[in-house]
Amino acid sequence: MPTDQITSPDDPLLLAEGWSRAGRKVALATVIETWGSAPRPVGAHLVIDSEGNFEGSVSGGCVEGAVVAEAADVIDSGTPTILEFGVADETAWRVGLSCGGRIRVYVEPVEAAPHR
């Protein structure tokens, strides 16, 4: 269902904006591709701040920890990155998806553009 406009208080995009305006350093993670049985659909978001606080989800809880860790680097560097998770990965030991699916996650910093 295209029901991604439900603007509940824990909506990741609203939080990303709110946190950022409050002066927190924020990254936004988005599921951009899935294969097999992935727990969260393409377009699902997770918002992370530099303190490691997060809301939303990109999986059923399997890989959020790794995304949060990567988000710290993205916030520091200001450069987006793409992460991939799946059972076939080396990382599966630590943060694989038990459902057997694979997902690719885009992680980008949220920042007031300096060039504006």
Partner: protein
């Protein structure tokens, strides 16, 4: 993501306006396209139009080999039912189950009762008054089910004007013929009249009120999900 762009996206979402955030995964460059505001020569025009209909986010590759991610944000679909009638009593739970945000409008207080529609967003007022404060939009379907021109005609006109993704009206071919004449007299175009699903619902031989509700919901879903040219 530029905070300014994120604000614009959230503003669209909160205002029930469809928008697509286009992200170039190679460069990180982003732009926001609101529905109806994409320039005709936008290289992604066809893709964007398709995504606005389907509501699905996804990755695409352009002819130039750019990998783009489209974050598609469309409002949850609404169904506005005119008439707190027997068919509506079946249609409300079915449509709710299918994920629609359902509202029933009927100025006849004998029909629009909490007892007949428990837990339903029910407005016992004239559609003119209700729709003034809660306007229709392209992500809303409208089914007029009262048979009564005094109640049905105004919301049908409003739904066509608001480009509702589905507009249906209960009544036989004869009833609809008269309705079409009335609407044409007040300036509704032939193209708009042709958009009205009448006699209402998918042709499944529906007889009972619940069966008619199934037929109506089927056509609402078809209008939401299928490409216009693929609709029968």
């Amino acid at each position: 993501m530029d905070l300014h762009l994120l604000s614009q996206l959230n503003e669209a979402r909160e205002g029930r306006r469809a928008a697509i955030l286009v992200t170039d995964l190679g460069s990180g460059a982003q732009r926001l396209v609101r529905r109806g505001e994409a320039p005709a020569d936008d290289p992604l025009a066809t893709e964007l139009a398709r995504r606005f209909r389907s509501g699905k986010s996804g990755l695409i590759e352009t002819a130039e080999g750019q990998r783009l991610f489209l974050t598609v944000s469309v409002p949850p679909p609404r169904l506005v039912i005119i008439g707190a009638v027997h068919i509506s009593q079946a249609l409300v739970p079915m449509a709710t189950m299918a994920g629609f945000d359902v509202t029933v409008i009927d100025p006849r207080t004998a029909f629009a009762t909490e007892e007949r529609f428990p837990g339903t967003a029910l407005c016992a007022d004239w559609p003119e008054d209700v729709l003034a404060s809660r306007p229709l939009d392209a992500y809303t379907a409208l089914a007029a089910l009262t048979h009564d021109p005094k109640i049905d005609d105004f919301p049908l006109q409003a739904a066509l004007a608001a480009d509702c993704f589905y507009v249906g009206a209960l009544g036989s071919r004869k009833t609809h013929g008269k309705r079409a004449e009335r609407l044409a007299e007040v300036g509704v175009t032939a193209a708009d009249l042709a958009r009205i699903d009448a006699p209402i619902g998918a042709d499944i031989g529906a007889a009972s009120p619940a069966e008619i509700a199934v037929a109506v919901l089927a056509n609402v879903i078809a209008a939401l999900r299928k490409e216009p040219e693929a609709r029968s």
